[in-house]
């Protein structure tokens, strides 16, 4: 039950941040849906693994949906990607790092500073992986269509 409420909250959150970032009106529902799916997966994966890993899985889902929706609604991938990834940006870790630095707790500072770098890395790697899959898919499709044309002309 908690997961459902959280997912609904994430939907609203991503819808709002998409407006702040000036996303076109027709793309707002898709962006919100992408964010909701990402947060849902994040919660599912989060119960038994580290934050970094669940962020990675959630970002993969978001990147994949962003590519799908960019084809459906004919808007650039960035529109969905940036809005939906917003709740995952490591604001929490950055804050806790600063907080422990002020409290002179260097061990905690190191831990949270490293965690924020790892979370950004996880988001980046996930986006890159899904991007690559779609680029390679596009190249294979192009190659085959060229081959077909050549076969037809002969």
């Amino acid at each position: 039950m908690d997961i459902i409420i959280q997912t609904l909250t994430a939907t609203v959150v991503v819808y709002l941040i998409a407006i702040v970032l000036d996303a076109p009106k027709k793309t707002l529902p898709y962006a919100a849906l992408t964010g909701a799916a990402g947060w849902f997966v994040y919660l599912l994966a989060g119960s038994e693994s580290s934050v970094v890993f669940s962020t990675f899985i959630a970002s993969c889902v978001i990147a994949f949906l962003a590519h799908v929706f960019s084809r459906v609604s004919e808007a650039p991938t960035t529109v969905f990607l940036i809005s939906a990834l917003y709740p995952f940006v490591p604001g929490t870790s950055v804050y806790r790092a600063v907080y422990s630095l002020i409290g002179n707790d260097l061990e905690a500072f190191k831990f949270y500073a490293l965690q924020s770098i790892l979370i950004s890395g996880a988001i980046a790697t996930a986006v890159f992986a899904i991007d690559s899959i779609f680029i390679i898919h596009g190249k294979i499709k192009k190659y085959h269509s060229v081959e077909e044309q050549r076969a037809n002309t002969i």
Partner: protein, 258 residues
């Protein structure tokens, strides 16, 4: 150079300029400019998009090179403009719009689909909702209203006077830290102060610069990728500085009073 070719070059450079200003990825800028230029009969065209500038050179039929450079000094995310430029460039490439209309469309491109206050309200509600998302209670949401209003007003003022982005981040971080810790100390309710502060800085954190920077680097656009990553690190540092000095100040003042 013929008039029409000239218009193609102007349109392409304008499209690229709008994209860089809206914080699009470097490969998207270069692809868009190149696609538009390919419609005109230039012997060759070369485009380099950096985060701070756009460099375009074309070679016209009689072997005279023409170069256009745009210096871009301020950028802010605007997904609407990215999407619209994308639409217009597709229309040019598919031939459904002629180049004159396309140029007019780009010149008259709106900066937003929303009224200014809609964006402010959305930003305000975003901060409150993110408290809930990070497992805050309803008391936390109510207690976060003063800080959320402050952040919204500051970002509004700073975008109005076009101040340096770092200044806005520092001031917001500082005020949020002061307001939230003050409320936490003065009001006898249990408040998750850390969640409140984190929620307020979430609209400021450099999510876009980070994501696009890494996408650029992975595509081999090292210059613009690292520029964006550096921007992300700088923003994060300034927010951290603001929060840090705010927390320290309140600690000192409270220790002095109590």
């Amino acid at each position: 150079m013929e008039d029409e070719q000239n218009l193609y070059l102007k349109t392409a450079v304008l499209a690229g300029e709008i994209l860089i200003k809206s914080n699009a990825e470097a490969y998207r800028v270069e692809d868009t400019v190149r696609h538009i230029l390919n419609r005109a009969d230039f012997n060759s065209c070369n485009v380099v998009a950096l985060t701070t500038g756009l460099y375009t050179t074309v070679e016209v039929n009689d072997n005279e090179p023409v170069t256009m450079i745009r210096r871009i000094s301020s950028r802010s995310v605007n997904l609407y403009r990215i999407a619209r430029v994308n639409d217009v460039s597709r229309e040019i490439v598919s031939g459904t719009t002629d180049i004159k209309d396309a140029y007019e469309k780009l010149i008259n491109l709106k900066s937003s689909e929303y009224a200014p206050y809609t964006k402010d309200i959305a930003g305000f509600l975003f901060i409150l909702m993110i408290v809930l998302l990070f497992n805050g209670s309803f008391t936390d949401v109510l207690m976060n209203i003063p800080a959320a209003v402050t952040v919204t007003i500051i970002s509004n003022i700073c975008s109005k006077y076009n101040t340096n982005a770092f200044v806005a981040d520092f001031i917001s971080g500082f005020l949020v830290a002061v307001i939230v810790t003050a409320i936490n100390a003065l009001i006898p309710l249990t408040i998750a102060a850390d969640i409140l502060i984190i929620a307020c800085i979430m609209p400021l954190v450099p999510g876009t610069a980070l994501t696009n920077g890494v996408r650029d680097i992975f595509r081999g656009d090292y210059t613009s990728g690292f520029a964006k990553l550096l921007e992300a690190i700088m923003i994060a540092l300034f927010i951290a500085l603001g929060i840090g000095s705010g927390l320290l100040l309140v600690q000192e003042v409270l220790g002095w009073i109590l």
